[in-house]
Amino acid sequence: MNLGPHADFIVAAYALTAFVVATMVAWVVLDHSAQRRMLGDLEERGVTRRSQRSGS
């Protein structure tokens, strides 16, 4: 595939987009693990939400 005389601009656009998309994916995945870990820690210490108490 020949990208012509402006290949640098095309490659830079695709690289930047890939970087931003990868950052967003990493953000949601890492944030999910962090929230799950914090919830797990609280539950291990016996902290429960009101809705869980009334349900039990």
Partner: protein, 243 residues
């Protein structure tokens, strides 16, 4: 399960957990197909290979505006019905919409240099999209810095609705003012002005980016619901410790 059931955060989380893997897989397949078609698309007779930047720039521009539209609907839900899931949806959409608007601005700039001879001009389309990006940053600042999350959410919802005025300005800026940016060539009266050999990969990439947006949005909403649960549980723990 009806729409009212989905307004319950726990039921919403169950649905998101079931749907997310399928959405992520569909997004990956569409991106693979879109990139394959985009790389095989012919060069434009005037712009040459730089037309390949369009496959990123145009979907990113659409999603930057879609993000604000989603936030505007959510802002109505927050201010009128005070529904907690609406606030979650608005807050989760803001960083994603900002990221797509950022991609739109930078890829547009990288496309502008070889085609227009400049990275940036203060014309109506470029400036109104920059204003959209700044509005996103303003909403994010309100969400992230407010001491009371409830007040922060209401302030962000008001700014979102005020900022929605910018959406038609972005869309019609190329018709209302003389701009360097080209007029609408896809969504216009009389049909698309783009050849199918370039339009097809563009539409596949747009579908892939749209699925990516909704996948990320649902995942971010799930995280935000969990974050609020953690906050509530910590407050209860602190209250119990005091009592």
């Amino acid at each position: 399960m009806n729409i009212i059931d989905l307004s319950n955060p726990t039921r919403f989380l169950n649905l998101v957990n079931r749907v997310l893997p399928w959405l992520a897989a569909a997004t990956a397949i569409l991106f693979a197909a879109g990139l394959y078609r985009a790389m095989g698309a012919p060069d434009d007779y005037q712009q040459g290979a730089t037309v390949k930047i369009m496959f990123l720039h145009v979907p990113a521009a659409w999603l930057g505006m879609l993000g604000w539209t989603v936030m505007s609907v959510a802002a109505l839900g927050t201010l009128v019905w005070r529904h907690p899931l609406a606030d979650v949806a608005g807050k989760a959409a803001a960083p994603i919409g900002a990221a797509f608007t950022f991609i739109c601005l930078v890829t547009g700039s990288l496309w502008g240099r070889p085609t227009w001879g400049t990275y940036w001009v203060w014309d109506a389309r470029l400036t109104s999209v920059l204003v959209l990006f700044l509005l996103y940053l303003g909403v994010l600042a309100l969400y992230w810095t407010a001491e009371d999350p409830g007040r922060g959410s209401r302030a962000a919802a008001v700014l979102t609705l005020v900022g929605a005025v910018n959406l038609p300005i972005i869309k019609f800026s190329v018709d209302w003012w003389n701009t360097l940016h080209q007029p609408a060539s896809i969504l216009r009266m009389g049909g698309s002005a783009i050849d199918p050999s370039i339009l097809t990969p563009l539409l596949i990439m747009a579908a892939a980016f749209t699925l990516l947006f909704f996948t990320l949005h649902l995942a971010a909403m799930r995280n935000e619901i969990l974050r609020r649960r953690v906050r509530t549980m910590r407050m209860m723990q602190a209250q119990e410790a005091r009592a």
